[in-house]
Symmetry: C2
């Protein structure tokens, strides 16, 4: 199976066998980028979390979508992982002169993205269509699919009350202890037709190494999403975002701990149990192979830290080979 | 009278005697700036054309308001007269990547102005309030008053049909022959309370050297505006934007000609006849003094070309002295 892989060098028109990657922020975008280096554009779809979207200055900001878009377009800021390479902050400085809060660092090029997206959304176009048009303009080949067209907002519960996600994540530098998470508005959300169609034709679903709680979590919380994943004949594999008991970036480790999960690849495996058939864990976590297998999951041990583009491509190849092997074994 | 002038050095709290300046784009902004150098902030109000406002990328752009605001704030681009000094164009470049038209050159700082204004307007705040808040944030002391809170749009009639104002002015570099002008939506517009109150307390109204057709014209076309000007006890004087038969910048000369006006300070005097008691004309037009006087208008001959800040201040002083003299003579 997995013709998407073999088709990389011999594309067969008319036969589209998708790899669907579930991604949140920077880590997810990196693996999605690696996959885009291995696959013909039409055989990859990236399903992106939108529950960190929010409004500021009357603009609709979609941080995870933009991180994935900029990364796939090759224009992401390599230092931060988010935002546009070489972006400037003149507009933000002006907004500060106008007395506005500027803790969310939107660069000038990034602001153009927000302005145009807001314009198209206000014009009545669904987010899926807006993202498709904008990512194509930037030369992104693979389909980029928002998890839904409805507005969903991750709300972080802390001992001091609830916080909007970006308030917690950016303004407070994800320092508050997370006692709970809810996805506001998710009950009204539905997987889009584009997404269901991609899943239906998928040979493999890849859970990228994104935060299981606030990146992959909202995607899985969309009513009908788990069912669509389980209904799909695709093999599903995940890449652990926890390496040697730590998140490579962001608060996933502290968040898992305060929410009562084990902070390890095993903890991640437990969260994805029943949804994925295989887990890729880092070589530094090799001792977890057996306990994870005991959950009824295949395990591949490989280097998973992506420091550069070559690492992204290598991990993507590992993931695709693993998926192929699992598919052959079924 | 004209206590605004004498009060410059001895402000008397509670007694506000306004100078109201009518302004459009760059020329008007320059004299308004000169006036702001001569008067205490609370004794100057600048009444600004809004009929060149338009929407792009879902943002409300107000070119004349912004030119006046940036000029009074001391942040205007000295080369162009419009936009912000030292502004960059990263967002516009990104919008071009997204396939958007970018003939209207919005800088990054300028874009922040448009974003914030649009946000506040969508929030239901009247333009007058939005402009007041934003100009104050930039340190502008004098009141900036949009000619109305309703949307009015100058439409340019040409042999090839009608053009939106910015399409004519910016995209087509004001090259098409103007056969007529109309102010779309002006019948629904009304002078704002802030504006009526400023006019009521005004000692002098100054028609800045802006285009009489597309800058001052729309202001005068607001139903009730002429009546408010005539009802006011203020002396009204204009500064001719035509010097030696030419506009100092922009298409005013060609526009006056194609619309059947004489392209001279005398032509300007005829347009403002009945509305102003005095006209300031340039020394190069001294021979027009007598024919303009014959229209029943006082004339002051003075250098009117404003090359630098000192020129702006000097012309403002000339204008204020002229107004004072006319008031004494009444």
């Amino acid at each position: 199976m997995l013709s998407a892989l073999s088709a990389a060098s011999h594309p067969r028109p008319g036969v589209v066998s998708m790899i669907v990657a579930l991604a949140g922020g920077v880590g997810g975008a990196k693996l999605a980028h690696g996959l885009s280096m291995c696959l013909p554009p039409r055989e990859l779809a990236v399903l992106v979390n939108t529950a960190d979207d929010f409004d500021i200055y009357g603009l609709r900001v979609c941080p995870d979508l933009d991180t994935v878009m900029y990364t796939l377009a090759g224009v992401a800021n390599p230092e931060t992982g988010w935002g546009v390479k070489g972006d400037t902050f003149a507009a933000l400085d002006m907004l500060r002169h106008y007395g506005q809060d500027t803790w969310f660092r939107i660069g000038d090029r990034d602001l153009a993205t927000d302005v145009l997206r807001t314009y198209m959304l206000r014009d009545g176009r669904p987010l899926t269509e807006v993202v498709s048009a904008m990512s194509s303009s930037l030369g992104v080949g693979p389909a980029m699919l928002p998890m839904c067209d409805e507005a969903v907002a991750t709300v972080i519960q802390t001992p001091d009350g609830e916080l909007d996600f970006q308030d917690y994540f950016v303004r407070r530098h994800h320092e508050p202890t997370v006692t709970g998470v809810r996805y506001k508005g998710v009950e009204q959300a539905r997987p889009t037709l584009a997404l269901l169609s991609a899943l239906e034709g998928a040979e493999a679903v890849v859970f990228c190494p994104s935060n299981p709680i606030v990146s992959i979590g909202p995607i899985l919380a969309v009513p009908g999403m788990r069912e669509a994943l389980l209904r799909s004949s695709a093999v599903s594999i995940a890449v652990s975002p926890i390496v040697a008991g730590q998140a490579l970036r962001g608060p996933a480790d502290r968040m898992l701990e305060s929410l009562g999960h084990e902070v390890s690849a095993l903890g991640v495996a437990r969260i994805y149990q029943g949804l994925v058939q295989g887990l890729v864990i880092d070589t530094s976590d090799a001792e977890l192979e057996t306990p994870i297998r005991e959950l009824g999951m295949e395990v591949l041990v490989a280097p998973t830290v992506m420091r550069d583009d070559a690492d992204r491509r290598t991990l993507a190849e590992v993931v695709l080979r693993f998926a192929r092997a699992l598919n052959h074994g079924r």
